[in-house]
Amino acid sequence: MSELIWFKGGRIAAEDSAKLEQLDVLVEGGKIIRVAEEVKAPEGAEVVDCEGCVIAPAMFDVHVHAREPGREDKETIETCSEAAINGGVTGMVLMPNTLPAIDSGGLVQSVLDIAAEKSRIPIWQSGCITKGRAGKELAGIAGMKSKGVPVITDDGDSVADPMVLLRAMQYAKRFDLILAMHCEVKELSGFGAMNEGVVSYRLGIPGIPACSEEICLDRDIRLAQYTGARVHIQHVTSARGMETIRRFKEEGVKVTCEVTPHHLLFNEEHIGDYDTHYKMNPPLRTQKDNELLLQALIDGVFDVIATDHAPHTEFEKNSDFVSAPFGITGLDTALVSLYHHYVKTGIFGWDLLVKRYSAEPRRLTNLEPVPVVEGGVAELIVFDPNRKTKFTRDFMKSKSSNTPFLDQELDGQIISVIRDGEFLLNR
Amino acid sequence: MGSERTLLSGEGITEKVGELAAEIRKRCGDDRPAFVGVYTRGVTLAKRVKEALKEEWPDIPLGTLDISLYRDDLDDLQTAPKLESSDIPFALDGTRVILFDEVMYTGRTTRAALDVLMDYGRPARVELAVLVDRGNRELPLQPDYVGLKVETKVGDYVAVQFVEDDKREGVYLTD
């Protein structure tokens, strides 16, 4: 491997510039040593021809289910990290709803140990808010914090008892931890398997009303307002919920939030004839929600884009709609699908993608962003908009392929991923 | 598609219907039969013969049979045949029945028609009248009354057309 890498002729994407600037990039041992219009060819440099390509900071995903420990048949930390690299992601935060749930410092360490051995990218493990995610007793928050947990969450479930959550917020605040909230009033969701409305009536599927999410989200932010804790609202699906967050943000409450690619791109109508690739919790809402969430992303209401990568086996997803598990994979597909549907069509630019899927997720995790600038760390991707990506089973590195993009061909391809002076991916 | 040849004109059909009626009258004697036509053109044929005999027997009972449910080739069809109502508005038991079909070919339709008839009751005797017998039997069945007998090859197509059911009248052979 050459010490020097010369990215020649690419256009640089940055979070604060709508314009892509054509500049050469010279990388040496994990550092960007030169960014200029024409870099003089140094002796022995490895040349990467980036003609027509975009060079962007590598992505970061704050919401990933790697399933290890416990459901290694769905995904492992190794396959999950490879799926991330495949999708241009070089760091991620894993959710703690594994088997067992990650609710102590020891368990956090055990995951980090596996990651150190199996993952080619750094991994942050989040911890539970309550023991076993049962919503009753607080998990070992200080112990988990000492192992580097950036965020605590009972993701998959809300913390049903508001008093438990209030205490958790008061406690976690003093450890400078963010509480990431899955918002749902379980009693309202019941046995629901999709958004409640015209489509759920037609299909005869029990519905989950949007107010199940909206009420809980409102409650959680009010508790954050009261306690002064930092909360992060996960996977917002409804426009009304988004408006609640916008209003609290304007009031100065310390709340951040995320939107997933699937809640932007898909809605209840896509379920069609009981396609379980469109079953997730919180569920896909309406087309109107798609439009309003997209506008909110452009307006800056959403701090980050996160995939909620949720692998399930083909066997599980092949069962009937009500029995099939919630969730779809996203790491392999997120960047290309967002490029295809929004950047290529001019709905938003690379600057938004970089800001919301690279820079802000890192800041949320108390990390520095990785802009492509002189003196910066070389953690970047090369993206060719003129190539296409077909999401075949073989192409995707996740152990599972429960995604609506399965076998779809979209515009754009990630051709290189570089981190720490090393090519993690080079097509 | 081969060429079409006329086997019987409209007048020819009328003549053959008359001959069938006369033969039936002769052979039945005092034993007035009941008629049963097989959908669609067997019913028309039965009505024509009944009309020809209205002087002697003004009140021949007339029934209709749809044999679709008894066909043995349903598996080969992409479309389930449209069903007509079978209607036997008289007591079959002990009755002499003449079954009408326009063309006799392999004998499979007749086999199916007999099966349907037997499911309605127990006639004293069943005879078969056809306008055209084109041979090439696949079952050991023969008509009792025949208007016209023609030699044909398997794969030929014999069409009987009545103005009641079709645009024209005549019997045509296409090879």
Binding site: N318, A324 | Q78, L83
Partner: protein
């Protein structure tokens, strides 16, 4: 007689996907089958050598028997695949069952399942024709066909006729399928039920009523009473069965008004006497419940006659 050909389908999963021509064809085809019942031999050899499997994950003696009689009269061999209905049946066992069914090389599968979409899932994975005998809250297409056939017998012209469906619209696959077919046949559909059981997501064409007074003032031609599922009361969709009967049931007093107006009565059965319907209404000459049962056999025969399983070598 220029008629459009009605191509056979592999499966009958819902009413929504049927064209009006297909519905008309099925109703027309059911007529000669009903006439068969008056013959001494009520059987035809149409499906001789074919196998029909009934697979009921929810117990329903009536519907299963109706399908069995229909299949028998078409000379098919009928087998009841005994499935456990006591335990909650999870998706996993369905996939396993599909494999088993595949190996049995059955031609028709009649399935009832508590989860919406299961018949569609099975249909995707087998060459056999799948007849949905009720799935979750989703669809009950043969019930809808027999209801339509029954309405046609009393009203040959269904255009602009009005049907009032009374009861639990939210959890009823019968309400979904029957309202869909009546709508497709040009009828106006009204619904009456407790606010907690008439969902917001209902189609726009449904005119909703919240009391009998308004509903009868709409002058329905047919009143279709849905069965009250007793467990709904425990889930607090309404306060008590007594209150249900008083407010939404066909009480003696309301029955008198129905009788006076000559309105036809229908019910998918089995009825809870004294809850959704009073005793005396069962003897009403315009009560079509028994016709519905008889017509169920004829329309199910028509459905079996129409469907064509996939090729032998197909999955």
């Amino acid at each position: 007689m220029a008629e459009t050909e009605i191509k056979s389908r592999k499966d009958l999963l819902d009413i929504e996907s049927l064209s009006i021509e297909e519905i008309e064809y099925l109703l027309k085809t059911a007529e000669p089958f009903k006439e068969l019942f008056r013959r001494s031999v009520k059987k035809v050899p149409t499906l001789r050598g074919k196998t029909v499997l009934t697979l009921f994950y929810e117990p329903s003696t009536r519907t299963r028997t109706s399908f069995e009689v229909a299949a028998n009269r078409l000379s098919a061999d009928v087998t009841n695949f005994a499935v456990s209905t006591s335990a909650v049946v999870k998706g996993e066992s369905i996939l396993d069952t599909i494999e088993t069914l595949q190996a049995m090389r059955t031609d028709y599968i009649v399935i009832r399942h508590g989860a919406s979409g299961v018949p569609a899932l099975i249909a995707k994975h087998t060459r056999a024709s799948v007849l949905n005998a009720g799935d979750g809250f989703h669809a009950h297409p043969t019930q809808a066909l027999l209801d339509a056939f029954t309405v046609r017998e009393v009203y040959p012209e269904t255009e602009q006729k009005r049907i009032l469906i009374v009861g639990d619209i939210l959890h009823s696959r019968v309400a979904r399928s029957t309202s869909t077919i009546m709508r497709k046949m040009g009828m106006e559909v009204g619904v009456l039920g407790p606010g907690s059981l008439v969902p917001e997501g209902r189609p726009d064409y449904m005119k909703s009523f919240w009391n009998w007074e308004d509903a009868l003032a709409w002058k329905p031609d047919v009143v279709y009473l849905l069965r009250v599922q007793m467990e709904r009361q425990e889930q607090q969709f309404f306060p008590s069965l007594g209150e249900y009967h008083r407010v939404y049931g066909l009480t003696s007093e309301r029955f008198k008004r129905v009788e006076g107006a000559g309105i036809y009565l229908m019910h998918p059965g089995p009825v809870n006497r004294g809850v959704e319907i009073v005793d005396e209404a069962m003897a009403y000459e315009r009560c079509l419940i028994n016709q519905q049962v008889e017509n169920g056999i004829a329309t199910r025969m028509a459905a079996l006659y129409w469907l064509k399983p996939g090729e032998e070598n197909e999955r």
